[in-house]
């Protein structure tokens, strides 16, 4: 039956890559190279096999069921117990075994802020766990338990996936699995791959890199550190801490791509210090640009979300020279959306006073783009 599924795979590949179907090509070459009789025999045999298969769809399942995939990977997920247990801080979280000799990848959180961390495997075995190290910039930690020949995920084999990929999320959310039982599993798809830093201040998270947003309610108390896998069980990501979107006040369900964490995990395991990552959030410059330096005076900021209309311009200022006009509504600064006077002022803090900026304004129903630059002496 393997052949059959090779064919399926080939058809899939054809669909995705627009390549000619491997199935047909292979069959054709076989047919032409053999004598007709042999070809017919071979083909008939194949047909027979297919018919048999068709008649007994259940018994001849060549592919694994989800239950079989889970049997294989659920033992890789562990329940972690540590500090907490007050003010809504659950004293537990999830983790995944990443080496046969007991390295556990999890999130760096208050739960680990104790000398007594316990890791409970899916079969109920309990181990005292040691915090081997953490990377606070990524919010990840690696624990170590004294064990050998453990089932585990190989971080090197983790895969990158796209939006629409069907996933399973394995975690001990709400601490449901209490004894010798495996953690919970939820299903969903990757809703979109996006960056947590795409918008400043939207997510109160230390981690600023790309995440897989999920369409399942995965990021619940106790779930952080759980594993995100494809439907065939390939490791994709680690479930992050609970996070709320400050823009629309909804809870975000997401996982961190393993590729973002691998380097840190290796460094912690090797006892090396992890070098600072290059894609740190943008720092505020020593001296920021301010609106008054450009000669822009906005309407009085009286509302929570006063639209950033230009009230007037200082004559001869950079803004006036660039062609900004009163009553222009400032919409974008360097491509970033400005939703209110407050947001505009905050955004300016990230711009160096010497940098040239591009404003997009709404003027009479039209979008107008303007380039501005501050000059110390007011001249250009």
């Amino acid at each position: 039956m393997q052949i059959l599924f090779d064919h399926l795979a080939a058809v899939l590949a054809r669909r995705v890559d627009s390549k000619p179907p491997g199935l047909s090509r292979r069959k054709l070459s076989a047919g032409t190279s053999l004598t007709a009789r042999r070809a017919s025999t071979a083909a008939k045999f194949f047909l027979f096999a297919l018919l048999v298969h068709t008649c007994s769809s259940h018994s001849l399942a060549a592919g694994a069921s989800t239950a079989e995939v889970l049997d294989r990977i659920q033992p890789n997920v562990v329940k972690i117990y540590g500090a907490g247990g007050f003010r809504g801080l659950e004293p537990y979280q999830s983790g995944m075994i990443v080496s046969a000799d007991g390295h556990i990848l999890t999130v760096f959180s208050y739960v680990l802020d104790t000398d007594q961390i316990t890791a409970v495997l899916a079969d109920g075995r309990r181990f005292e766990a040691r915090l081997l190290g953490a990377d606070p910039r990524l919010d990840v930690a690696v624990l170590k338990i004294d064990a050998a020949e453990l089932p585990h995920f190989d971080l090197g084999e983790a895969v990158e996936v796209d939006a629409g990929t069907r996933i399973l999320a394995l975690s001990n959310l709400f601490g449901i699995a209490i004894g010798n039982e495996p953690a919970s599993v939820q299903h969903g798809v990757v809703s979109v791959k996006t960056g947590l830093a795409a918008r400043r201040g939207v997510f109160n998270s230390v981690y600023r890199g790309p995440v897989y947003v999920l369409d399942a309610a995965t990021n619940n108390p106790g779930a952080a550190g759980g594993a995100l896998v494809t439907r065939t069980g390939q490791l994709v990501g680690m479930i992050g801490k609970e996070l709320r979107n400050a823009l629309n006040h909804t809870w975000l369900n997401y996982a961190l791509p393993i590729g973002q964490l691998r380097e840190s995990v290796e460094a912690i395991r090797a006892g090396r210090l992890v070098a600072a990552r290059q894609d740190e959030p943008k720092q505020k410059p020593a001296r920021s640009l301010r609106l008054e330096m450009l000669g822009i005076v906005l309407v009085p900021d009286v509302l929570e979300r006063t639209p950033p209309y230009v009230d007037h311009l200082r004559s001869g200022s950079p803004a006036a020279r660039a062609g900004l006009r009163p009553d222009d509504l400032i919409l974008l600064v360097g491509g970033r959306l400005i939703t209110s006077c407050k947001v505009l002022n905050e955004e300016m803090e990230y711009i160096d006073f010497e940098d040239r900026i591009r404003l997009t304004v709404l003027r009479g129903g039209e979008l107008v783009e303007l380039d501005l630059q501050y000059s110390a002496n007011g001249e250009e």
Partner: protein, 376 residues
């Protein structure tokens, strides 16, 4: 094997076996057969449950469906406006819209505009940014109509006729809230049709401000409806919002939106109000007996009286309060309906023109108790 050989030997083209010149033809014949059987076998295999192969095919189908509708899904940004409506903090995040007309008409969820923004920006799937005007609001279905001036005709999506929708079919909620370049998707099924008094269909896909205003599509990428928060128990502007991402979500059928578009373009639409109260708290089990008619209401003007039992609306049999709400709740102000009541033994038919009033449906809101055990 032998039996099979005989069987296939009867095939007219296979009987040509032995002629060297037909070699290629034969292989092609087998190929044809192979493919045919393969197709049959293929369907048989993948129709079994819990098979990863099917799941992978479905995954491809989901992606293809989203790709298909994506050119009609836009990102909408708003500027300025209120911070909150009542006690609810409103978001400022991007929201999603669906193109319904090549000339630049776009529908979205009214939820994204409750803060009355000073300005609206639409980012088209090709990245072009356009200022937008809010043309009108459907206060009954909580949908807004926006208009932009596109540089070239926009892509209008294919829709699923309401009659073709089936409970249990795939339903994919599409938004463009995270990234203007790629849509975000969540997958579920159609949970029910004919919800919110006939105004919406229901899905268990994750629906939230991240895709309100976006389309709910079938597995072939055709639009089932437009995602909006709604509740049958309240006409409040925020009704249904607290159910975001809970597996209970609604979409206004695309067919309705397209059908109503000419009227919608002309101005706001309001739910039609009749102005009666009916017996019992729970509309599901309440009897359709009028307990009160508002003064000057359409009902009163038409001549309906307390004690009347409604038996028919526009030819539809009425048995419970819910039937009344379903027949009237989906209509707009200005719509005319014929209502048959029983007064004693007498059967009387009335023509009633529904009006705009601020008393909601004219049938009081209801705060039911929903049972579910919980652990904190």
């Amino acid at each position: 094997m032998d039996d099979l050989r005989c069987k296939f030997g009867h095939h007219p083209q296979a009987s040509a076996c032995g002629y060297e010149g037909y070699l290629f033809e034969i292989s092609k014949t087998f190929q044809t057969l192979l493919l045919l059987v393969w197709l049959i076998g293929y369907v048989a295999i993948v129709s079994a449950d819990d098979r990863i192969e099917l799941e992978m095919l479905e995954q491809e189908a989901f992606r293809a469906a989203v790709e298909r509708v994506a050119p009609s899904v836009v990102q909408i940004e708003t500027v300025g406006g209120l911070e909150r409506v009542g006690k609810v903090l409103l978001g400022t995040g991007p929201t999603t819209g669906l193109i319904v007309d090549p000339e630049g008409y776009i529908v979205s969820s009214a939820f994204g505009f409750l803060h009355r923004p000073a300005s609206i920006l639409v980012r088209l799937p090709d990245g072009v940014l356009k200022p937008a005007e809010l043309v009108s609001t459907d206060h009954s279905r909580m949908i807004v109509l926006l208009k932009i001036e596109p540089d070239r005709p926009l892509t209008v999506p294919e829709i699923v006729p309401a009659g073709e929708m089936r409970v249990g079919q795939w339903a994919i909620a599409v938004g463009r809230a995270f990234d203007s370049k790629q849509p975000n998707m969540s997958v579920g099924i159609l949970s029910a049709r004919n919800r919110i008094w006939g105004k919406a269909v229901q899905t268990d896909a994750a629906v939230s401000p991240n895709n309100y205003g976006g389309p709910l599509i079938d597995v072939r990428g055709r639009v089932l409806g437009v995602l909006v928060p709604l509740s049958p128990h309240s006409a409040n502007r925020l009704a249904g919002y607290k159910w975001y991402d809970s597996g209970v979500a609604f979409a206004v059928p695309a067919e309705h939106i397209f059908k109503t578009l000419p009227r919608f373009r002309k101005g706001d639409l309001h739910g039609g109000v009749i102005g009666i109260a009916l017996k019992g708290k729970n509309p599901s089990i309440g009897e359709p007996v009028i307990t009160a008619c508002r003064k000057d209401s359409p009902a009163a003007k038409a001549g309906l009286k307390p004690g009347d039992r409604i038996v028919e609306i526009d030819g539809k049999k009425i048995a419970r309060t819910a039937d009344v709400k379903e027949q009237l709740g989906r209509r707009y102000a200005g719509d005319k309906v014929s209502i048959v009541v029983l007064r004693g033994q007498q059967r009387i038919e009335y023509q009633v023109e529904l009006e705009v009033r601020d008393w909601g449906l004219g049938i009081r809101d209801w705060n039911p108790v929903f049972h579910l055990d919980s652990n904190p």
